[in-house]
């Protein structure tokens, strides 16, 4: 989707303001909101691509005006309501009005270090042949999917070169829609700034792109 999250190439958001000696949290609710989000992810009710897609589907104004933890909190609420884990009324009142739904896992304190250390690798075996090799010239397809995609708008239709091959990874466009991992070859593609922006520059941008986003130049 061409959502508010697809930020690359926008201008007008002002200067980058870095805070000196920035603390990990900026308000009391931030660590709680962060941990709630992480803990609900651990229940296995959705995957990382579904969570990202829910954030992208927030109204554009909410997305742009909220801080990071605030934005994630709103998306989490929407996700849980959509799945029936909570109701909107329960969220508004903070009181349980409907019985809980079964979830795959509830992380207890002793489980947390192991879960965080294990992470969630995105590599998956696949029988698909590798379509491109390092050095190949490719074009990012000009596609405008309605659902989730990780092909940024600024790269669509642009010419690049494969600079790394990462094996076969979960394909977010499928995974975010609950259509399975559908693993595809993942590449890093280097685009020149001249090709992306029409600017006279020798700088470049490297983007991780799955094979379905690419086409040969032939």
């Amino acid at each position: 989707m061409n959502g508010p999250h697809d930020m690359g190439g926008f201008t007008g958001f002002g200067p980058v303001i870095a805070e000196a000696d920035e603390p990990v949290w900026h308000d009391v609710w931030e660590p709680r909101a962060f941990a709630i989000n992480l803990a609900m992810g651990m229940t296995g009710s959705w995957n990382i691509d579904m969570a990202r897609h829910k954030r992208e589907q927030l109204p554009a104004l909410t997305y742009w005006r909220s801080s990071y933890y605030e934005m994630r909190h709103y998306a989490l609420i929407n996700q849980m309501v959509a799945l029936g884990l909570i109701t909107a009324e329960e969220e508004a009142t903070g009181r349980m009005l409907t019985p809980p739904k079964p979830v795959r896992r509830v992380a207890t304190a002793d489980m947390v270090p192991g879960i965080l250390a294990a992470g969630g690798p995105a590599t998956r075996p696949s029988n698909r042949p590798q379509g491109y090799a390092i050095g190949d010239k490719v074009r990012a397809r000009n596609i405008t999917p309605e659902g989730h995609t990780r092909l940024p708008r600024y790269a669509r239709g642009r010419l690049g070169e494969i600079v790394a091959v990462h094996g076969t990874h979960v394909f977010p466009d499928s995974s975010a829609q609950g259509q399975g991992d559908d693993p595809h070859w993942l590449y890093t593609v280097r685009f020149t700034g001249r090709e992306l922006w029409g600017k006279d520059t020798q700088d470049s941008v490297c983007i991780d792109l799955w094979e379905p986003y690419l086409e040969s130049l032939a």
């Binding site: 201008t11 104004l61 596609i143 922006w197």
Partner: protein
């Protein structure tokens, strides 16, 4: 706000392109969450300060603190004639048109830091010239106070399928100046 903006534009002597450029200079979050006439207000405040007609404090307080730069207010009697006068952005062409109706063109993939009327979604796409409008004031120059720099203006037709990929079949038309285009 509509009336005020028209009057201060008249007094201040800036162009519609400078005006659009000032309206676009709002922070994106503010731009999108404010109404159309709030964009105009932001534009007017920006330009009044830029052209030395009012200071930031004066705008905040609504009171004049410094003598104004010499400017002649528009009398009520001249408003109606000004509104109904037929302003034109067409200018004398300085060179023959590069394209004619039926020509296949591609929009340039450019990302100017200043004002432009070439929308991002149409950059780098193939289309066809379907109308030639003569030479018109070029906003990319006029907005930045660099003069009117007139260029040939065309209506270009695009297939939505070419613009967005996929099977969309509707047509999109945009008025584009010659510097935005290259031959296919």
């Amino acid at each position: 706000m509509f009336a005020l903006m028209n009057l201060v534009g008249d007094i201040g002597g800036w162009s519609i392109d400078e005006d659009r450029s000032a309206c676009e200079s709002m922070a994106p979050g503010d731009y999108i969450t404010s109404s159309y006439y709030e964009h105009w207000l932001h534009g007017a405040e920006t330009l009044l300060q830029k052209h030395g007609l009012a200071t930031r404090d004066e705008i905040a307080s609504g009171r004049a603190a410094t003598p104004s730069r010499a400017a002649t207010p528009t009398p009520a009697s001249s408003v109606w004639p000004a509104v109904t006068a037929r302003g034109s952005y067409q200018r004398q062409a300085r060179a023959p048109a590069l394209f004619e109706v039926g020509d296949a063109v591609r929009t340039r993939n450019i990302h100017p830091t200043g004002h432009t009327r070439l929308p991002r979604y149409l950059r780098g796409h193939a289309g066809e010239i379907i109308a030639v409008h003569g030479a018109h004031v070029f906003p990319d120059s006029n907005a930045n106070g660099r003069g009117e720099d007139p260029h040939w203006l065309y209506t270009v037709r695009f297939n939505a399928g070419e613009v967005w990929g996929g099977g969309s079949s509707h047509l999109i038309h945009a008025d584009l100046w010659e510097p935005y285009l290259e031959s296919l």
